[in-house]
């Protein structure tokens, strides 16, 4: 059975993660705008990784049984490019900070953020295009507001597809770095989880964020502007099978 102390810890601190993204920004706001930690995009080099290291990290998002046959993307000077062709329909990548919420997100340009994910085929077709477009616009030097407008326009023109039923992804990489804030009791910046993507709906439909619910709503997209809900369930184990942090 999957139940473990790690899962419990993840559930508890998952809340902190979610609310850190939404409310934690207030902390920065109170600290005053002139102290915003990442007011603009850093030099591109700070967002790039060694190619082989990025391939390995991308694969670490899911158990090896899934990621070994997945297509692997890496971020280059001009956007994501295919580094390894896949055979099972999954696509793994390492996402950067601009995949976070557009609003009230002081880490939108945090160059330390590395979010490894392995998308299933449905999500690879219908959610990953968001990452491609956000990245393209970010690398073009657009502001968060301009990127958001670009995404909104792309949906209006149907250049971005609606999310497919059954779209989900694995985020079980031990190496992921989601935020500067510690989101587990030991101050880790990560948690092992799976994500489910749905069209916009009443989030009460999944009971997310309610007392004792194991489902967390990730405010990553949430209609602002992407018409996609992201739900998270902690897995209690990293992709290599070791327990997720418990202290």
């Amino acid at each position: 059975m999957m139940a473990s102390n790690a899962v419990r810890r993840c559930t508890i601190f998952g809340w902190i993660f979610v609310w850190a993204m939404v409310l934690g920004s207030a902390q920065y706001a109170c600290a005053k705008d002139d102290k915003a930690p990442y007011p603009s995009m850093a030099p591109l080099d700070q967002y790039l990784m060694d190619r082989d290291a990025e391939i390995a990290m991308a694969r670490s998002a899911a158990p090896e049984a899934i990621s070994r046959d997945a297509e692997i993307l890496v971020l280059g000077q001009h956007g994501y490019e295919t580094a390894v062709k896949g055979k099972n329909g999954f696509v793994c990548d390492v996402e950067r900070s601009w995949m976070g919420p557009f609003e009230k997100n002081p880490e939108f340009w945090n160059p330390k953020v590395r979010g490894a994910g392995c998308y299933n085929p449905q999500a690879a077709r219908s959610v990953l295009p968001i990452a491609y477009l956000r990245t393209k616009l970010a690398l073009a030097g657009l502001s968060p507001a301009e990127i958001a407008e670009g995404i909104k326009a792309a949906y209006a023109k149907k250049e971005l597809p609606p999310v497919e039923p059954g779209a989900m992804s694995f985020m079980m990489s031990k190496q992921t770095y989601l935020t500067d804030r510690g989101i587990t009791s030991d101050g880790a910046h990560n948690m092992a989880h799976v994500m489910f993507f749905t069209a916009l709906m009443d989030t009460a439909n999944w009971g997310a964020n309610l007392d004792n619910s194991p489902i967390l709503l990730n405010p990553q997209f949430n209609g602002s502007p992407e018409p996609v809900e992201v739900y998270m369930v902690c897995t209690g184990a990293w992709s290599d099978g070791t327990p997720a942090p418990v202290s």
Binding site: A3, S4, N5, A65, G166, G207, S213
Partner: protein
């Protein structure tokens, strides 16, 4: 015939290890079914209506189930016992919602509470009601299998809506002699799809799967850490 063994903890299966094969009658014979015939209806009933209502609600955290519609099982099938306000439906399913090849298919002791979200209430509940109706009509497993298949073929039963899922987090849930209380989990229903699309059943994957038969439905399962009352689940 090669058999693909997977781990699952589903409502539908009520088992932790099943062999995926459409040839369920053969399996039933091999397993030496303990519950070959339906027991007297009284054995499937709960002694008290209020007890069943409370039990159904334990499938999900109180924050969800307190405003859910609740159905109870009576001598003539399921009946609405409590009106809901949030679109969720909680219900205690009986053994005939297990796969047809489950040797405990008619085990009268099984009690499996679920709280279904609104999309699942619209699309899974009709299957529960239909299967219950067939069981109570005294149909054999073969007849039930054929009836359910025909109902899907004729589109009398709906396919899962996008986002259909349920909570199964009752500490008192009972899956039968072999698996007891199992563990708390979430289940997600989608139109029949390949296991690998969710990486289900692969080594290290947190996702398990149950392929329904004859229903053209795939059920994905993820264990969670706590029972609905917030207490920790076993950690084995």
């Amino acid at each position: 015939m090669s058999r693909k063994i997977i781990k699952t903890i589903s409502l539908g299966s009520f088992v932790l290890v099943i062999a995926l094969s459409p040839a369920w009658p053969t399996q039933a014979q091999e397993s030496g079914a303990l519950y070959e015939r339906m027991a007297p209806i009284d054995q499937y009933l709960m002694t008290d209506r209020n007890t069943e209502i409370a039990f159904a609600r334990t499938a999900a955290p109180e924050s969800i189930s307190r405003d859910a519609e609740v159905w109870v099982f009576g001598r003539h099938g399921y009946e609405a016992a409590v009106k809901g306000k949030n679109g969720w439906v909680c219900i205690v399913e009986r053994s005939w919602m297990a796969p047809f090849d489950d040797p405990e298919f008619l085990n009268p002791d099984q009690r499996v509470p679920l709280c279904l979200n609104p999309p699942a209430a619209r699309t899974h509940l009709p299957l529960t009601f239909k299967t219950t109706e067939l069981a109570m009509a005294g149909q054999s497993k073969t007849q039930m299998f054929d009836s359910i298949k025909a109902a899907f073929d004729k589109k009398e039963l709906p396919m899962p809506e996008p986002g259909s899922m349920c909570y199964m987090m009752s500490k008192q849930q009972y899956f039968g002699r072999k698996y007891g209380n199992a563990d708390p989990h979430l289940m997600f229903w989608v139109p029949k799809t390949d296991d690998v699309f969710w990486g289900a059943g692969l080594p290290g994957s947190p996702v398990y799967v149950h392929q329904y038969s004859p229903e053209p439905i795939t059920e994905f399962i993820i264990s969670v850490s706590k029972w609905s009352d917030g207490t920790p689940a076993p950690t084995d």
